[in-house]
Symmetry: C2
Subunit: 232 residues, 2 copies
DNA sequence: AGTTGTGAATCGATTCACAGCC
DNA sequence: GGCTGTGAATCGATTCACAACT
């Protein structure tokens, strides 16, 4: 048994003006969105390898899903494979990146530059994945001003300015739990629309803002569930 | 819009000897398992607050789900609420922890003590969550032997011995990508049954072993999807 | 009166299997 | 001959709404 993690909270219902003859894009189902990053990675690998064309069978194997599911998922993007041939790797990669909204590197602000924030900054600078680490923010006067991952850490009191300056819509929250909700509120008020929180607490956000919790303890608990039953 | 992350790969089908009069436990659905950690946290909060009894309504609000869903989820655990009254917080907390398999603190080994591994070690030591950080392992001679989170970092070459010594069935993998699959294989051969991987690559594991990927780039990509459409 | 546990209904996601196209 | 895109079938998960119980 195995399997990657990832789930998406809610669908984005699209105004139903289909009747008016406007060809509305059908909303991509949450479960599909959760798999798109896997497809993107697989396609990037193939692309690097110099592969020009791939079948749904091969791509699905790389991404760890069934080929029928892959084809169904791609059909939501209005994809253009060629029957009898397969998909053009480069074109499809572009299509998936576009659907996710990571064509042009999006600005991400990381708040809380402890060991975890530092590690995440390094990782995102190196791996990329379609993002630009635009700024790092912390409260600690001993950290503010120091260089981390090639950026000068900025002062928490300027958080809103930093977010606006960089036009960041995404943020990574790596502060202690106590500060999380306050920082979250300020991020949202400054225009952030998506927050990846490494905090165990549930964060309250207004509609239109998405929070994803990266909760290590919860992940381990789920793993613990699966290791039950076969005690060795 | 908001929502925590978390999904569970596959169900554990139970041998169907119901006909023989044996009261088999019905398998808990994956979606339910994914929500149990949230319930556990909410129940722990209530318990700390000194609350003895709670309704499904209140508990569901704390966990961020609907009350009907909460009741349905708990019904898989054969839970014993009292009609007209609610659930006994302490008892229910025990029941959920038990279902997850985290009643007695499980041993966890962390491999790769870079900044990320160090941060995770600190976090798991502090937050607990039903686990005992049993050992830290790294290859770097400059790190091996140093004290991190109150433990001496051990040498990677002793990985298998360490896992067996501690009887660890869970591991956290925080090594560079290149080493991930090799370390994974060794963990599995030493008896580890669940791996939380902070590596973007898909890991191949035999049946009976569960991998959950904590992929920061993928999470951000999913967030990016939700921020599309409303360019603010 | 208040709340649970659960059938029945609904909704969404996955899989099958094949017509349609290259 | 091979492979995609998708209707139809299946499977699972969520929600409704109420009977059963304290």
């Amino acid at each position: 048994m195995s399997g990657p993690a990832g789930e998406v909270p809610a669908a984005q219902p699209v105004a139903g003006l289909e009747a008016a003859g406007v060809p509305t894009v059908r909303p991509v189902p949450p479960a599909t969105v959760g798999r798109l990053p896997g497809y993107l990675r697989a396609l990037t690998e193939l692309s690097v390898l110099g592969v020009r064309t791939t079948s749904s069978e091969r791509l699905a194997a790389l991404a760890g899903v069934g080929s029928a599911q892959l084809r169904r998922d791609l059909s939501w993007l209005g994809s253009h494979g060629v029957r009898g041939v397969g998909y053009d790797v480069r074109r499809l990669r572009g299509r998936v990146a576009d659907a996710l909204g990571v064509e042009s590197d999006l600005a991400v602000v990381i708040v809380g530059i402890g060991r975890l924030g530092h590690a995440l900054a390094d990782y995102l600078r190196a791996e990329g994945g379609g993002f630009r680490v635009a700024a790092l923010v912390d409260t600690d006067p001993g950290v503010v001003g120091s260089a981390v991952a090639g950026l000068a850490v900025e002062d928490d009191k300027d958080l809103e300015d930093v977010v606006r300056r960089e036009g960041a819509v995404l943020a990574v929250l790596a502060t202690p739990v106590q500060a999380a909700q306050r920082v979250c509120d300020r991020l949202v008020s400054a225009g952030v629309r998506g927050i990846l929180a490494f905090t165990p607490a549930r964060l309250a956000v207004p509609d239109g803002v998405t929070v994803r919790a990266a909760d290590v303890a919860a992940e381990l608990q789920i793993l613990a569930f699966h290791t039950r039953g076969t005690p060795a």
